[in-house]
């Protein structure tokens, strides 16, 4: 029906449009080129300074084959487990209506933004006396803990958009609830499940801290190997070979994601009250949520434990600098630093992300340009799939000449965080922009609105809320980012995750207690930010 599927182009090429397009494409492309592609390419290039012979050599090492296999295997398995456990939770949190739903939704996403080191210690403390400690199953549990939110949110928001009347029709025709689910609901959720699974796969394939802490030393991934090769052995050749391998896997995966993501209808169906047939899903959801809550609750419990019993002593200590001045600044100051950097990172990610989304939401006339846009769309996700070590070192060897001599500039930390938050912003804003009927813009234009005014009155008015929501999510992610931050932060301005890691790296009961109390504070701020997003009721947030 009409214009959406019609291949006729709607864009008139006036000089203004050309300038706007150049700027719109230029800003995000330049950002990614300067702060991502160039550093990563330079770093990989160092490894191939003597040619490409490294591939044969590195792939003849049995260790490499084993690591690549292990990486793919654990990521694949974790994706499957995440989907199986995430589906009932998605159903309950997005299809049913009950008190406290917003809080539970915020809690489910909490693990996604907690610092890995802290979660690692919490997990290991819980698992220590069980046969699971240091096993493959332990890694699997942690990967699922971190990533189940991706499935819940992505599939949940798609589920919310399905017209329930199809299910009703099937039931009237005599299908059992299970049959309805498997023959009607599941196939319709297919694209979102595939998209979520691919993203989980991506996150797991590049997982670092969790694997290192929980896998002990038995299990590695391509990512941990790149880290070891780069930071311990300075074996850049092998690191570059693995980086390229990782990139190839990621790009292949993104191609799959792009193919299955397809068209999404964004129409929110009213949630209904729970019925008896929901019992199985509700029980499963409660079990999964409880399992997610255990590590978090154990953190809270430990933060309240002191040498003299339970109390708030650890929290009181946060105003100081730890046992015998473990820290340069009090934890509250670090929280302030974190908030400042996270705000800057959010601003960068939102500005770039919105501009990129505006460009991506248009369908240009030439097929070549259309293919270029599709490639650009995929490129925006790449930062999630490249090792933080590679990006971090890349920054140091490239951004060293004016006007981009930024190596000692405090702006580097928010930029690194923005790289991680950017894909989340785009994935939140873009679907909304794509769902705008082009004829709405045309109506405004014919009524006399100049192009900039159409942009303001139509596009920006409609995405205002999703943008706000994406900001909250980007903010939370920036707040928890540790990898790149530890690499680039100025020691006199540490962020909260950096301080937590430092505290947990020093002996003494107070330091551990403070580290965990600080993690709970970080978690609290994160939940607050995400709960705020939930209040805005923008349901595509963090959905891929």
């Amino acid at each position: 029906m009409g214009s959406n599927s019609d291949p006729v182009t709607r864009i008139r090429t006036s000089p203004g449009t050309v300038i706007a397009t150049v700027l719109g494409v230029g800003v995000p492309v330049a950002f990614l080129a300067v702060f991502f592609a160039w550093p990563v390419a330079a770093m990989i290039g160092r490894g191939f300074a003597d040619g490409l012979g490294g591939f044969g050599e590195v792939f003849s090492r049995p260790r490499t084959i084993r690591l690549v296999g292990l990486t793919l295997g654990q990521a694949a398995l974790a994706s499957v487990v995440c989907v199986m456990l995430g589906l009932p939770v998605a159903h309950v949190l997005y299809r049913l209506r009950f008190r406290g739903r917003a809080i539970v939704r915020a809690l489910v996403i909490l693990p996604f933004v907690l610092p890995t080191v802290v979660v690692g210690v919490a997990f290991r403390t819980l698992l220590r006396d069980t046969p699971l400690d240091g096993t493959f199953a332990a890694i699997m549990m942690a990967l699922v803990f971190f990533n189940i939110a991706v499935v819940v949110r992505t599939v949940g928001s798609a589920w919310e958009g399905l017209d329930p009347r199809q299910e009703d029709a099937a039931r009237v025709l005599g299908a059992s609830p299970a049959r309805v689910f498997f023959t009607i609901t599941l196939p319709r959720l297919g694209p979102s499940i595939a998209a979520a699974a691919s993203i989980v796969f991506l996150f797991c394939a590049t997982a670092f801290g969790v694997v290192l802490v929980l896998g002990g030393t038995k299990f590695g991934t391509i990512e941990t190997e790149i880290y070891l090769l780069t930071t311990q052995f300075l074996d850049l050749r092998a690191a570059s070979v693995l980086s390229v391998t990782q990139l190839v896997i990621v790009v292949a995966l993104l191609a799959v994601v792009g193919r299955v993501r397809g068209s999404t209808q964004r129409r929110v169906a009213a949630a209904r009250k729970p019925r008896r047939t929901d019992a199985a899903a509700i029980v499963a959801a409660i079990l999964v949520t409880a399992a997610l809550a255990i590590p978090v609750l154990s953190l809270v419990e430990r933060s309240l434990r002191t040498s003299t019993g339970y109390g708030l002593a650890n929290y009181a200590l946060l105003s100081g600098t730890g046992t015998r001045n473990a820290l340069v600044v009090p934890v509250w100051v670090a929280l302030g630093n974190s908030l400042t950097t996270a705000v800057q990172a959010t601003l960068i990610a939102v500005i770039i992300g919105v501009v990129a989304s505006l460009v991506l939401s248009r369908s240009p006339r030439s097929p070549l340009a259309r293919r270029a846009l599709a490639a650009f769309d995929g490129a925006l996700l790449l930062p999630l799939g490249v090792s933080a070590v590679t990006v971090g070192f890349g920054f140091l060897i490239t951004l060293n000449q004016p006007p981009l001599d930024l190596r000692s500039s405090p702006i580097l930390v928010p930029i690194a965080q923005a790289l991680v938050a950017l894909p989340l912003v785009v994935r939140t804003v873009l679907p909304v922009l794509r769902s705008i009927d082009p004829r709405l813009r045309e109506s405004a234009a014919v009524l006399g609105a100049a192009p900039w005014r159409v942009l303001r009155d139509v596009d920006l008015s409609i995405v205002a809320r999703p943008v706000l929501a994406a900001s909250g999510f980007a903010f939370a992610v920036a707040l928890g980012e540790f990898g790149a931050t530890s690499f680039l932060a100025r020691p006199d301005r540490p962020t909260l995750p950096v301080v937590i890691v430092r505290l947990i790296g020093l002996p003494g009961g107070d330091n551990l207690g403070m580290a965990i109390a600080a993690s709970v504070v970080l978690a609290g701020v994160t939940v607050a930010a995400i709960a705020l997003v939930e209040r805005l009721r923008v349901d595509t947030v963090g959905a891929f």
Partner: protein, 245 residues
């Protein structure tokens, strides 16, 4: 003539880079205050013709001549959409869901920087004209389909457009409503003396609303004339079949 469209040709890219013509060398003219219905089966190119006149499509040049749109003799082909002083109303209204009814109607007035008080009066006047007195503060999402179309019409008429373009404005409504709104539309266009181009696939609607009828078949304009002329003497067997005579 007030509006002259000459040699309008619009091509679009099909998959795999091949192009096809949506409208092929269409020319037509329109007098001030006149309502012309463009009638044709779906896919005949009539909507593209409307969009080409609005300035929403890029015109091609062909052997028969350069595509041009003239307003009172002045070539406005290169004039951007928003400066033409036209208005366009779609089949499904395309209201701004994030604005109230009044603020939708006032949109063109805000762009023209009409003073607030005058805006309020004009909006009230338009809402009365389309039979929606007192609906100003409602959210557009709360309205029925017929009410939404009335708001869309009020919004299109607000800034007294030089030319009103209507793209199947009644098709999404049920029959009874369509007839009533069609009659209202005719009355409003006559009362306001608006020059209008009206696209439809329903000959009843065309007869009801328009002074003249143009028939589009397969990307071409095949006949133009008064309702009686077209209905009584179809130019080709295809037109005759389409009109069901």
């Amino acid at each position: 003539m007030t509006l002259d469209a000459e040699h309008l040709t619009v091509s679009y890219l099909r998959e795999k880079g091949r192009s096809a013509l949506a409208i092929d060398d269409v020319s037509l003219s329109l007098d001030a205050g006149q309502v012309l219905a463009v009638l044709g089966p779906s896919g005949s190119g009539k909507s593209t013709l409307l969009r080409a006149i609005a300035g929403l499509e890029v015109l091609d040049s062909t052997v028969t001549g350069t595509g041009r749109v003239l307003w009172e003799g002045v070539d406005i082909t290169a004039m951007p959409v928003h400066k033409r002083g036209f208005a366009l109303m779609f089949q499904d209204g395309q209201l701004f869901a994030h604005r109230s009814v009044a603020s939708n109607v006032a949109y063109a007035l805000q762009i023209a920087r009409m003073p607030q008080l005058e805006q309020r009066d004009r909006v009230a006047e338009l809402l009365a004209l389309v039979g929606l007195e007192g609906f100003g503060d409602r959210r557009v999402t709360e309205l029925s389909g017929g009410e939404q179309q009335r708001v869309a019409l009020a919004r299109a008429l607000a800034a007294r457009p030089r030319l009103l373009l209507l793209d199947e404005p009644l098709s999404s409504l049920d029959r009874e409503l369509r007839e009533r709104l069609g009659r209202d539309l005719r009355r409003i266009l006559v009362e306001t003396g608006t020059t209008a181009l009206f696209v439809t696939h329903d000959q009843g609607e065309a007869v009801l609303v328009a002074d003249r009828i143009a028939i589009m078949m397969d990307s071409h304009l095949v006949q133009i004339g008064s309702a009686a002329e077209v209905l009584e003497a179809p130019a080709t067997p295809e037109v005759e079949r389409f009109l069901g005579r």
